[in-house]
C-alpha cells in the first residue's frame, strides 16, 4: 500500500515536471521563432537600406546632382610639374 502511494506521488511529480518543461520549451520556442522573424525583417531592412544608400551615392546620380547644382567640368586641366620652377631654384 505504501509502495502504491510512493509510486502515485512519483507519477504526479513526473507529470507536473513534464508539463512545466514542455510549457517552458514552448515559451522559448516562441521566443526563438519571434527572434528569427525579427532577424529576417532586420536583414531585409538592411538589404533595402544598402540598396537605397548605393543608389543615392552612385556616381551617375551624384553627377546629375552636381550638374543640376551648377557645377561644370573644367575644359582645361593643366597638371603642374613637381620639378621646382625657375623662381624657386
Amino acid at each position: 500500500m505504501k509502495l502504491i502511494k510512493v509510486l502515485s506521488l512519483l507519477i504526479i511529480i513526473l507529470v507536473i515536471t513534464n508539463v512545466t518543461l514542455t510549457n517552458r520549451t514552448l515559451d522559448e520556442g516562441l521566443v526563438i521563432s519571434n527572434l528569427t522573424a525579427d532577424l529576417t525583417t532586420l536583414q531585409n531592412q538592411n538589404t533595402i537600406i544598402r540598396s537605397q544608400v548605393a543608389l543615392a551615392g552612385s556616381i551617375g546620380r551624384l553627377t546629375t546632382k552636381l550638374s543640376e547644382s551648377g557645377f561644370v567640368a573644367s575644359p582645361d586641366i593643366i597638371p603642374l610639374p613637381t620639378a621646382p620652377s625657375l623662381a624657386t631654384r
Partner: protein
C-alpha cells in the same frame, strides 16, 4: 455438428490469413511509401532562398547588390472575399511599368500599353482566383507595394520574399558583371561575365526547415525537427575602381559619338598585378532587363571577340627580335627602300613612303610594314611562333570572365603569313590578349594573368594573389622597347594629342577588316595600346574603336581618345608631369 464447427473454424483461419496477408502487404511491402506519405502530411517544410553575394569595387562601392521583392499569392481555401472585390482593391496598389524603352519613352504608346497591361493583369488575376488551392497573383512587388496590399487586410493573401539583382551604377559594365537569370528548374543562375564565372561562389544556399506539426499547423515540440542552415553567397571584391570605371565609360561614350564608331572598348589594367582597373564596351545592355536585348550583346567583346590587331602588334615582334639579339637599335633595314615582294604579294607601307636603311626606332615610330617583315625574317619563323605563345596568344589569358575564348593560331604558316602577322594582319587576337602582352613589356618582361576579382569575401576572406605566367622578355629588353614606344608617342602620327610633360609609351594600330575573303578598304579597327608613366607604369590601357567614320586611322581616333582618358587617369592617380 462437428463438421460445421470445423468448417467455421477453417473459415476463420482463412479470413485471418487473408487479413494477415493484407496487413503484411500494407506494412511490409507498401510500408515505406505510406510512411513517407504520412510524414509529408504532418511535416512542414519551409524554404527561405539564400541571398546571392554582392560584387563590390576595390574602393568598396557596390556594383551589384540585391533588392528584396515579393510574390503575391492567394491560398484560395482561406480567401473570404469575392475575386472581383480582391482585384478591385489590389490593382490600384500595383505600380505597373513598361520595360521596353521604345514604348516607355513615347507618351502616347505608353498610355495605351499601360491600359493593355492593366486589363491583362486584371483578367489574369480574376481567372486565377477562380481556381482552387494556391495561386500566384503578381510577381516582383516592391516593399511599398507589399505594405500597401498588406494594409488592405485581405484574408488568404500570402507574400513570398525573394531577391533580385540591382545595379546602382546602372552602367555599361553589364558585359563585365553578366546577369542573373533562371536555370531549367527555375533557380537563380549567373550567366556571362563575373556572374557566370563565379556563380558557385555568389550563389546563396537556401535555409530549409522541416518540422512535425499538428493538424492545426502548430509545431510538435517533441516531434522531428531538421534544419539545413542557409548561407549568404560570397561577395566578390574587384580590382576595378568605381571612379576609373565611370571615367572610362563616359569617355568611351563620348569617343564613339565624336569619331562615329559603331563599337568600342577600353580596358585599363595594372601591369604589376594584372588587376583590371576598368573595362567598358559599347554597345551594351541593361543587366536588370537583359531579356529586352539581343543575345549577341551578352558576351564581353574584349574577351569573346577576336580582331586583327594591326600595327600595335609590331612592338611585340620587335621586342622578341631584341630579346633574341637578332636586331639592335643601330641596325639598318636593307629591304625598306620600297615595296617588298613575297610570292605573288607585295608588302607595302601604310602611306606608301619608304625609308631605306630604317632603324628599328624608325620602323616602330613610322609604323613601317616592310621594316617589320625584315625584323620577322631576322627573328625566324620558329622563334616568331615561340614568342607568340610566350606572349599568351593561341590560348586563353585566364581572365575570370565566363565567355573568354582562345584565338587559335593557324596550323600551317607560309612566308606571307609570317610577313603579314609581323605587322598584325592575318592574325586574330582578343583585346585582353593584346593588352596582357603589352602589359608584359610594362612589367619588366613578366606576363601577368589578367584578373578582375581581388578577393572573395565570405565567413573568411580569400585573397586571389596575382599570378605570373613567366618572363617573356628580359628586363633590359622591356626597357629598350619601352624607349622606342615612348618615341612612337612623341614622334609618331599622334604626337599632337599626347599630354605634355608625361613620358608615355604606346603604339597605334589601324587594321583593315576582312569581309568575305578580302579586306574592306574603308572599314578599319583603330586601336591604341600603351602605358603611363613609361618609367614606372601605373596603368596599361587599350582603346579600340570599330569602323570609326571621322577617320579610319587610329592616330586620329583611338590615340586621341587614349590620351584623353590617360590625362584624366594620371590626375586621378596623382601623377604629376615629370618633365
Amino acid at each position: 455438428m462437428h463438421s460445421r464447427i470445423q468448417t467455421l473454424y477453417i473459415s476463420f483461419i482463412v479470413v485471418l490469413a487473408l487479413v494477415i496477408l493484407r496487413l503484411s502487404y500494407w506494412q511490409i511491402i507498401r510500408g515505406d511509401d505510406l510512411a513517407g506519405e504520412a510524414y509529408d502530411q504532418y511535416v512542414s517544410k519551409d524554404v527561405i532562398s539564400g541571398i546571392r553575394g554582392e560584387i563590390i569595387t576595390a574602393d568598396n562601392f557596390p556594383l551589384v547588390l540585391n533588392q528584396v521583392v515579393y510574390t503575391l499569392g492567394a491560398y484560395l481555401p482561406a480567401v473570404l472575399d469575392t475575386p472581383s472585390s480582391i482585384v478591385e482593391r489590389v490593382m490600384p496598389k500595383l505600380s505597373l511599368t513598361i520595360d521596353d524603352p521604345a514604348i516607355a519613352t513615347d507618351e502616347a504608346k505608353l498610355k495605351v500599353a499601360l491600359a493593355d497591361l492593366r486589363s491583362t493583369t486584371e483578367s489574369t488575376m480574376l481567372e486565377r482566383l477562380g481556381k482552387s488551392g494556391y495561386t500566384v497573383l503578381s510577381r516582383s512587388l516592391s516593399i511599398d507595394e507589399k505594405e500597401a496590399i498588406s494594409a488592405l487586410d485581405i484574408k488568404g493573401l500570402i507574400f513570398d520574399q525573394s531577391f533580385i539583382r540591382e545595379y546602382p551604377e546602372s552602367s555599361m559594365s553589364a558585359q563585365l558583371t553578366g546577369f542573373v537569370g533562371r536555370d531549367d528548374v527555375g533557380n537563380p543562375t549567373g550567366y556571362f561575365g563575373l556572374e557566370g564565372y563565379y556563380d558557385r561562389e555568389l550563389a546563396g544556399r537556401s535555409r530549409i526547415e522541416k518540422q512535425e506539426k499538428d493538424a492545426g499547423g502548430n509545431p510538435l515540440l517533441v516531434g522531428d525537427f531538421q534544419l539545413l542552415p542557409g548561407r549568404t553567397g560570397r561577395t566578390l571584391k574587384l580590382y576595378l575602381e568605381r571612379g576609373t570605371q565611370y571615367l572610362v565609360e563616359e569617355e568611351l561614350k563620348n569617343g564613339l559619338e565624336l569619331y562615329g564608331a559603331i563599337a568600342g572598348e577600353v580596358i585599363v589594367m595594372d601591369p604589376k598585378t594584372g588587376g583590371i582597373l576598368a573595362m567598358a564596351s559599347l554597345p551594351s545592355y541593361d543587366p536588370a532587363k537583359f531579356y529586352l536585348y539581343d543575345t549577341f550583346l551578352y558576351k564581353n567583346p574584349a574577351v569573346a571577340n577576336t580582331y586583327e590587331p594591326g600595327s600595335t602588334f609590331k612592338v611585340l615582334v620587335m621586342a622578341a627580335a631584341f630579346n633574341e639579339g637578332v636586331v639592335k637599335e643601330d641596325d639598318h633595314c636593307d629591304i625598306c627602300a620600297g615595296p617588298y615582294p613575297i610570292g605573288k604579294y607585295n608588302i607595302k607601307t601604310w602611306n606608301q613612303e619608304y625609308r631605306a636603311g630604317a632603324t628599328p626606332v624608325d620602323i616602330i615610330v613610322h609604323s613601317d610594314n616592310v621594316g617589320m617583315v625584315w625584323t620577322e625574317q631576322k627573328l625566324g619563323g620558329e622563334k616568331f611562333l615561340e614568342y607568340l605563345k610566350k606572349f599568351g596568344f593561341g590560348q586563353k589569358t585566364g581572365i575570370d570572365l565566363q565567355e573568354e575564348i582562345s584565338s587559335n593560331l593557324r596550323t600551317k604558316w607560309g612566308d606571307i603569313d609570317y610577313a603579314t602577322s609581323s605587322f598584325g594582319q592575318g592574325i586574330a587576337v582578343t583585346s585582353i590578349q593584346m593588352l596582357a602582352a603589352v602589359a608584359a613589356i610594362a612589367n619588366n618582361g613578366v606576363l601577368m594573368e589578367p584578373h578582375l576579382v581581388e578577393s572573395v569575401l565570405g565567413d573568411t576572406a580569400v585573397a586571389i594573389p596575382p599570378k605570373s605566367k613567366g618572363e617573356v622578355i628580359s628586363r633590359e629588353t622591356s626597357q629598350r622597347i619601352t624607349n622606342i614606344m615612348v618615341q612612337a608617342v612623341e614622334e609618331g602620327e599622334a604626337q599632337w594629342a599626347a599630354p605634355k610633360g608625361y613620358k608615355i609609351a604606346g603604339k597605334t594600330g589601324t587594321a583593315q577588316i576582312a569581309v568575305e575573303g578580302h579586306y574592306d578598304t574603308q572599314k578599319t579597327i583603330a586601336s591604341f595600346v600603351g602605358f603611363a608613366p613609361a618609367d614606372n607604369p601605373r596603368f596599361v590601357m587599350l582603346v579600340k574603336l570599330s569602323e570609326p567614320s571621322s577617320s579610319q586611322w587610329a592616330a586620329e581616333t583611338a590615340a586621341p581618345l587614349w590620351f584623353s582618358i590617360a590625362q584624366k587617369l594620371l590626375l586621378r592617380y596623382n601623377l604629376a608631369p615629370n618633365r
